[in-house]
């Protein structure tokens, strides 16, 4: 059964189709308050799903630490690529 067609910019991120993604991204609110609101909502949804539960496990914080390691790796990449065992860097 088909739902009423909702405009692209009002759909949630997980409901956006892959082809519509650039379209959706361009229609976001790029003001200061809009961006901080988006970060706040993202943070709140992560905390409420994984950390603010009655019996939270190590998964919540492990995901944060793993993400931190990955972002550090990306940040460090220019420097780390000289560690590879290759003849030409």
């Amino acid at each position: 059964m088909a739902d009423r067609p909702v405009p692209v910019k009002d759909t949630r991120l997980l409901d956006v189709k892959l082809g519509q993604l650039p379209n959706w991204f361009l229609k976001r609110n790029f003001t200061y308050s809009g961006m901080t609101g988006a970060v706040g909502r993202g943070y709140d949804s992560f905390v409420n799903k994984y950390i603010n539960v009655k019996k939270g496990g190590i998964g919540g914080i492990a995901m944060v630490l793993f993400g931190y390691v990955v972002v550090s790796y990306i940040w460090n990449y220019e420097h780390l690529k000289h560690d590879r065992w290759r003849k030409y860097h």
């Binding site: 905390v47 950390i51 603010n52 539960v53 009655k54 019996k55 939270g56 919540g60 914080i61 944060v64 630490l65 931190y68 390691v69 972002v71 550090s72 790796y73 990306i74 940040w75 460090n76 220019e78 420097h79 780390l80 000289h82 560690d83 860097h89």
Partner: protein, 227 residues
């Protein structure tokens, strides 16, 4: 480009932003915000319990006047503990290996304890320069020595933290390089080196926690002297 072993302590940058910025913001993300519920989630309970126990144990011997310092000492401990432990994860940057940051933490704190002492009870503070029960001929020498030891305190605080963490990170890097380099030629020796590496990592975990504690404990001691 030849990599030296000290390159891990340089903060790399992307888009002009240094990695140290993210490393300094990470502790605030790790600690969940307190909500007003009676029964909170496990993380909040754990965090509250840890902070309460630590503050109680730290501030027990102090007098009423210096209890104002409890929030800053506890938050300092939490920050140092988190930054030190996070620095043990792979590819991360430890801001407390930089002497600039540790001196920036040590000097203002020490100076404020000294100034507080000089302002509120100048006689007592100056009296600390001469410990009780010293023989009279030794008095001038001892005053000079005590003044020097007073002024060396911030230096010692900062450098102690920096040196311990830097040395630990360097040792881990050296041992791991040795382990990997030995692996093709002498696997047994490589295994031995790996055991050393594991023990070293355990030591580093302990040192990370202990150093944070020592920093805060010494500040508390200086505070008690001066209040």
């Amino acid at each position: 480009m030849n990599l030296t072993f000290f390159d891990q302590f340089m903060s790399p940058q992307i888009l002009g932003i240094q990695l140290v910025v993210m490393s300094l913001l990470m502790p605030s993300i790790i600690f969940p915000t307190q909500n007003n519920r009676w029964l909170t989630n496990r993380f909040s309970t754990l965090q509250s319990w840890a902070i309460h126990t630590f503050t109680k144990q730290l501030m027990l011997p102090t007098n009423k006047k210096s209890r104002q310092w409890s929030i800053i000492l506890t938050s300092l401990m939490a920050m140092l503990l988190t930054t030190n432990l996070l620095g043990l994860l792979p590819y991360t940057f430890t801001p407390t290996t930089q002497l600039s940051m540790n001196m920036g933490l040590a000097i203002p704190m020490w100076l404020s304890t000294v100034l507080m002492g000089l302002r509120n009870q100048p006689t007592m503070s100056l009296g600390h320069m001469l410990p009780e029960g010293t023989p009279t001929p030794l008095t001038p020498t001892l005053i000079v020595i005590e003044t020097i030891s007073l002024f060396i305190r911030p230096l010692a605080l900062g450098v102690r933290l920096t040196a311990n963490l830097t040395a630990g990170h360097l040792l881990i890097q050296l041992t791991s390089t040795a382990t990997i380099a030995l692996l093709p030629t002498m696997p047994t020796l490589s295994l031995l080196t790996m055991t050393i590496l594991l023990l070293l990592t355990a030591l580093e975990l302990a040192v990370a926690m202990i150093q944070a504690y020592v920093f805060v404990l010494l500040l508390n001691l200086y505070l008690q002297e001066n209040t």
